[in-house]
Each structure stands twice: as C-alpha cells, then as structure tokens.
C-alpha cells in the first residue's frame, strides 16, 4: 500500500472456539488522523484492539505497520516498533511511584544492560537521569508532574488516567491505541481529553475505542463501526451518523425515518 497508511488491518478473522469474534475485518489508520472504532457491546472492538497490539494472534488476515508485516509479533515487540496503547483498566503499577511508572514506559529508550546495571557507574547514572527527565517531561505535558512521587492508588481516577497516558506517550510512539480513555471521566475532563487527542493527532496516528459518542464525533476523522465481528460501516463522523445500518446496530431495530 502507499506510504500514507500507517497501521493497517487487512481481512483479519479471529475465532474463540466456535465464536467468531472478528470476521474479515479491515481497517486503515494513518498518521495524523484519529480513527474511531465504535459498536455495541460484544461487537469485537477490544478483540480488534488486541490484534492491533499483538495480544491476540489472528487466525487469518494480516497486520502491517508502515508496510511491514507485523502480525504474530509479541506485544512488547510492537510497542518497541512504535505502537503504544493504554489499557481499559488503567494498568498502572500500584506499588511504584508515578515517576517510575512512566519511566517503565520510557524503557525502550534505554540501552544499559544487566552487567553495567550491577556495577552501577558511568552510563547507568547518566541514562537514569535521561529517562527521569523524559518521564518528567511527559508528566509535565499532561499537567500531572506534581504527582511524580505519589503512588497511583493515592490519586484521583482522572489523574491516574493521565499518568497511564503519559506512560504510553513517553516512548514517542508513532501510533497510539486508546482503549476507552473517557470511561470514568467527568464532562469537564472529557472535554480536556478531546483537546489533548486533537493536539496529539498532529504528531502521531491515534486509534480510539470509545463509547462516548460526543467525544468520538468530535475528535475522529474516520470511524469504523463493528457489529457481531464485522465492519458494517465506515466513513467520516457525518457519514456514519447518517448510515441507517449503524442506528439499527445500536438500537436493535430498523428505524423508520
């Protein structure tokens, strides 16, 4: 495909036993755009996400990243290639301070090996300074640098969400997969999140799974609608809104105009 295409899912099917979770799903997410994935519960959104970040190996179909076939790669490999993601359940390390949480995200920027770490001098120290600075910058960008020394469980949910986002961003990914970033947020926080997503989209490609339609319609340039493991509609927010199949999928019945 052309170089514009960044993260591309092509004819991917996933079966769990007899259940078809994804049925020949295709999706193309380009850098500089926000691609939304919506659909009713159980439509396969999370499975699609798990395929895109390497947690689920597709039974058939391909996953390519800037033209390179990457399906079957372990998640940590994909992350190191530049596909970062946030988790639905936050997934912060509860017994590590916020700063260390984010420094773990920056680990792919580090090179010092075990032997040098044991000896602990020279490059180990300067690299720690560097990782620390990168982590602080990421926290600062999201306005939560003040919580660097706190443990995640001590913090309000919205702050924890920002820390998780900082951890995903600190490695300078080329793609960011956001799994329900707005869940549990207030109206005000959600507005802020929308601004942030739009700002980030100028730097990297974003794929967004989200239930809050206001947010999806506001930030997405393209939307794929899943139902029963299939893509039933695709297009701009306006096109998707106008598509009767989408309304049917959400409301379960044909809507008379």
């Amino acid at each position: 495909m052309d170089s514009k295409v960044g993260l591309s899912v092509d004819q991917v099917s996933v079966r769990f036993g007899g259940l078809v979770a994804l049925d020949r799903v295709s999706l193309e997410a380009a850098p500089g755009e926000v691609h939304g994935v919506i659909g009713p519960n159980g439509a396969g959104k999370t499975t699609l996400f798990n395929v895109m970040c390497g947690f689920v190996k597709p039974d058939s179909g391909t996953l390519t990243f800037f033209g390179q076939k990457v399906h079957g790669l372990r998640p940590e490999k994909l992350t190191r290639m530049g596909v970062a993601r946030t988790l639905q359940g936050l997934g912060l390390f509860p017994r590590m301070p916020v700063l260390e949480n984010v420094m773990i995200g920056a680990d792919s920027l580090a090179k010092v090996g075990v032997l040098r770490a044991l000896i602990g001098a020279g490059p180990t120290v300067s690299e720690e300074h560097r990782l620390r600075a990168a982590a602080m910058a990421a926290l600062d960008r999201l306005g939560v640098a003040g919580y660097a020394s706190k443990l995640p469980p001590q913090l309000p949910y919205a702050i924890q969400k920002k820390v998780a986002l900082a951890r995903a961003l600190v490695s300078n990914p080329r793609f960011l997969l956001l799994d329900e970033p707005a869940s549990g947020l207030s109206e005000e926080d959600m507005g802020e999140l929308g601004d942030l997503i739009l700002e980030l989209s100028s730097e990297l490609g974003i794929v967004l799974v989200e239930h809050h339609m206001d947010l999806v319609m506001r930030v997405c340039s393209n939307i794929s609608v899943l139902d029963f493991g299939r893509v039933i509609a695709e297009g701009t927010p306006a096109e998707v809104k106008a598509n009767p199949l989408v309304t049917e999928a959400y409301l379960g019945d044909e809507v008379q105009a």
Partner: protein, 360 residues
C-alpha cells in the same frame, strides 16, 4: 501549546547542565561510589569487631554470611519480581557441591571457586527460570518445591561423585601470609564472607536502583502493563531467577566452607522453607531485611536451645522448641508488621526524624 508542538518528536532529552550535580557531589552521586564507601566502612568495622570476639563467636557469626547472601537473592526474586521459590535450599546445594568438587579435583584459587559456585548455580537458576516464566503462584511454588525435594536424592544416587549420605569433606582455606599469624582460619573465613556480603550487597543495591530493578518491579505489579510498555515479561523473569540463583549459589559455596563438609542432610526442603520464613521475618524485598533474616536464622535456634535448657524441659520438647519459636515469630511478625523487621526499623527511623523536626 505551540511550544509543545514544536518539541513533538524530541531527541533523547538531556538534563540542563545546571541540574547536573558537579564536582565532588557528582562523584558522590554515583551509586557505585557511595555504596563502595559504605561497604569499605562496614568491612573495617567488621574487622575491628572480630578482633574482640572469641573463636566460637566468630564461627557463629560466619554462619550468617551464607544465609545472608542466599536471602538477598531470594528476597529480590520474591519481593521485587513477585516470583516465589521453595527451591533456594537446593540452589545453595548446587553452589556448595560446585565448590567442593572443584576443591577436590582442581587446584583452583578460592576466589575462582566462589565465582564458579555463583555462575554454575546461575545456569541452573536460568533453566529453573525458564520453567518459572510459564508458571504462576502455587504452581511455581510446586515446581520449585520439587527441586528442593529431588535434588538431595541425586547426591545419594550418584555416590561416587557426590559422596552419598556421608557427603564430602571441605577443607577451610588458610589465611594469606600477609596477615601472618594474626588471622586464624576461622577469622579468615569470616573476613572472606564479609567481603562477599559487601560485594553482593553493592551489586544488588545497584541493580535495584537501575532500570533492571524497575523492570523486576513492573513485572511483579502488572504483567500486561509491562508488556504494553515494551518489556518482555518472560525474559525479565528468567533474568531475575538467574541472578537470584547466583546469589544462592555463592551462599551455598560459602556454606560448604563454613560447615567443613557437604551432605544431603544439610540441604533438605527444611532449608528452603527456613530461608523463605527468614525472608518474610526480615522484610521481603529489602536488602536490609536479608540481614535481619540471616541473623535470626543463625541466632534464634541457639537462643531457643539455651532457653529450653534453662526450663529443663524433656528432650523431645526442647528439641522442637527452636522450630516452634521460629514459627511463632513468623506469625507474630506477619500480624504486627507485614513488611518484617525492616518495616519496623523504617517506622522507628521515620518517627525519630519527625520528632526531631517538630521542636525545630
């Protein structure tokens, strides 16, 4: 907003020059330098201390070192990386036999035998780690328990190599000539151990401060989040197991020297469980906790024996009292201080500091 857009794809960030500590402070800021200074001071103090102790006391003290080093390994594995091992007694045995067989069949210098004890055990630890990376919680405990149960039997099965039930004798090294008649073999062994303890503590302290230690903790806290952050969970687990085993192996090698022999009876599953208990009592995951744990392993049985003799209990009761006290201590500490003795120590230090601040 615009500024943050400009630095969208920053090059690896550097600290501003002003923030980099300069001169002597910068040197002291290096963990290695700081730790070595503390280590050398500890060595000198230890050397002065053993000058005032009887030979028996020094012998008793030199039993602490092997346990301490093995406990450092176990504590890092469990407390920092979240993996449990009931097999560290068996790993100590691997180190002990490695040293003994080298002493028997080669003319290697002591330092080489000790390093070999650590490295050979590290290889076994890495293999165990490969198994461990596929197992969690009780299943991992079961697999490592199998090692602790099975390994001593290998030594009796291949008697000609490992010495069978009788085991093999280990000769204690003589003090080098530059110490002259000043150091008896007992004292020399205590000094060797203290050097090993200091080196191991420094290496592990460095490790835990580094990104490797951070990865250990990340795996302990959340495996999925670790993967998503670009870190291989199984690799980290194998590494933790290998390094932990290296410490256990070195501890085992020293244990063989202190005991003067190796035999399967010294490395039963009881040793593995005692190590685990001592780790919890001392404070899981902390290096200082390993010190407390090792001291307790060596001195509490002795106190218990003395106590039971004073109570003039009959033989069958007094023989088991040490174990009972050990068990009681474990339960009591878990209830009072879930982070062990080291947890209490930290709390006390914290309180004292607060007291000092208040009047000022």
């Amino acid at each position: 907003m615009e500024e943050s857009m400009v630095e969208a794809k920053p090059e690896p960030k550097q600290l501003p020059a002003a923030q980099q500590p300069q001169g002597p402070r910068r040197l002291f800021g290096q963990p290695l330098v700081r730790n070595v200074i503390v280590g050398v001071v500890a060595l000198v103090l230890f050397y002065l201390l053993i000058g005032h102790l009887s030979q028996y006391r020094i012998y008793q003290l030199s039993q602490v070192g092997p346990y301490l080093i093995a406990l450092v390994g176990l504590s890092v594995l469990t407390g920092q990386n979240g993996q449990i091992s009931l097999g560290h007694g068996a790993l100590m045995a691997i180190g002990a036999w490695t040293l003994t067989l080298m002493q028997l069949h080669t003319k290697s210098p002591l330092w080489l035998m000790l390093i070999a004890s650590a490295l050979v055990t590290m290889v076994f630890g890495a293999l165990l780690g490969l198994v461990a990376a596929r197992l969690r919680g009780p299943y991992l405990a079961g697999a490592t328990l199998a090692l602790a149960l099975g390994l001593p039997d290998i030594t009796t099965r291949y008697q000609s190599v490992f010495g069978g039930y009788q085991g093999l004798e280990v000769s204690q090294p003589n003090a080098p000539s530059f110490l002259g008649a000043a150091a008896t073999p007992t004292e020399w062994l205590a000094i060797i151990e203290m050097i090993c303890v200091v080196v191991v503590m420094i290496l592990f302290a460095n490790l835990l401060r580094s990104r490797v230690g951070r990865k250990f903790r990340a795996v302990r806290d959340d495996e999925i989040a670790t993967q998503v952050s670009g870190i291989s969970v199984p690799r980290t687990q194998v590494l933790a197991f290998a390094l932990s085993a290296a410490a256990a192996g070195l501890g085992g090698g020293l244990f063989a020297l202190v005991s003067g022999n190796v035999s399967p009876g010294g490395y039963t599953v009881v040793l593995s469980i005692s190590l685990l208990a001592a780790m919890v009592i001392g404070g899981t995951g902390t290096l200082a906790g390993a010190v407390w744990g090792a001291l307790i392993m060596v001195y509490v049985p002795g106190w218990a024996t003395t106590l039971s003799q004073k109570l003039s209990l009959n033989q069958s009761v007094s023989a088991n009292l040490a174990l009972a006290i050990y068990g009681f201590l474990l339960v009591a500490i878990i209830m009072v201080a879930p982070v062990g003795v080291q947890g209490i120590v930290r709390l006390v230090i914290f309180k004292i500091r607060n007291l000092r601040k208040e009047p000022g």
